[in-house]
Point group: C2
Chain length 240, copies 2
Amino acid sequence: MSLSKNKSKLITSLQQKKYRQKYNLFVAEGVKVVRELLNSELEVDSVFSTDENFSCEKVNVTLISEEELKKISTLKAPNKVLGLFKIPEQLEVQKNGLIVALDGVNDPGNLGTIIRLCDWFGVKQLVCSKNTVDCYNQKVIQSTMGSITRVQINYVNLINFLTEVNIPIYTADMDGNNVYKTTLPKEAILVMGNEANGISAEINSIVNSKLTIPRFGDLQQTESLNVATATAILLSEFKR
Amino acid sequence: MSLSKNKSKLITSLQQKKYRQKYNLFVAEGVKVVRELLNSELEVDSVFSTDENFSCEKVNVTLISEEELKKISTLKAPNKVLGLFKIPEQLEVQKNGLIVALDGVNDPGNLGTIIRLCDWFGVKQLVCSKNTVDCYNQKVIQSTMGSITRVQINYVNLINFLTEVNIPIYTADMDGNNVYKTTLPKEAILVMGNEANGISAEINSIVNSKLTIPRFGDLQQTESLNVATATAILLSEFKR
């Protein structure tokens, strides 16, 4: 009942996307996150715990030492449990209701926050461009908690997807329509862009409507809202 | 024109709050952030650069090597410039308009996001409980960019402040009034709580109105919105 060298090596390799894709597995850590994923429809591969009281129906929990956990954990303060879960198959995109699409969002924390927002606002479908950060990145998993199991996430050729779909497309833009004065439809795609560069030119060219969150502070300033907080405000406007 | 051992030691000591308070200095890094702070009313102490073309009117820039910068930087990828700025004196709290108050917000990223939101929505005053993370923490500085110079931030005994002030007090709460159906005043204090524990009981007891951001997703789930995204949505509602 301890951690084999091979398993340990496998687990740390999953910090890289190419190995997650090779083995079709991702890592989740901590009692709360692992418990939430165990309670979801995800298939579990294996669970390791330093606490002999942590058990689950789906799989035998392997008891490991604090030291062993430390070796395979990416957390500063490892929290008792680490689980390996199977990356689910990509289902077909659900092309109805409110959809969020991400065009090259880089930061795992931002993606995690956006997944939680989708879950909160009942957005069932998140569509990501291929260059958006991987949602099975461990930082994303740790920050989304169970939300990742309730939002369907697809990685697609975003320009093709947007060209083919028959739903109005909105983006956030500095020079768009005041979102507070715009009537928003129930069925729409909200595209949010990269942290530094925003929406790519190609995608911008097929957008139907640009939305602006008005700035109430000093108008001279050029800084923009963070992509996750802008998504929060826009989803709130679509749903309120 | 290089970095003395003493200065180098001083700069790294400023990663700790007690030394920032002792020397009354904080660190900012990167061309963009340092430039923004140099263009503000902040008093600069010294600037170090690996780029001889980086200059400013306020102070002589000390040319240093990449290696020297690496030693004093906290960034993974140090970006040419590091500046020391004087922590400004705490002015008296401005008790009018919309005020955001934080009750024990711990995460520097969350505080940084909230400062940017205040700047965006024209909130001039941010009041923090003494146990809220220090706004001169370097992670806060890096994420706020110039916003930190446009929002007045005071650290106070929050319960005393809220008891003495004559403005209605709102908080976010799971069992409050639907924020989308509530008429919000122009003058108010919005109190946001700690990431794990929310608002402290003492402060909860003097709140006038609790606001809920309705959940549109699966109602069984218990996860809440992150404090920064909840602040984004609530400020948007106060200002829209």
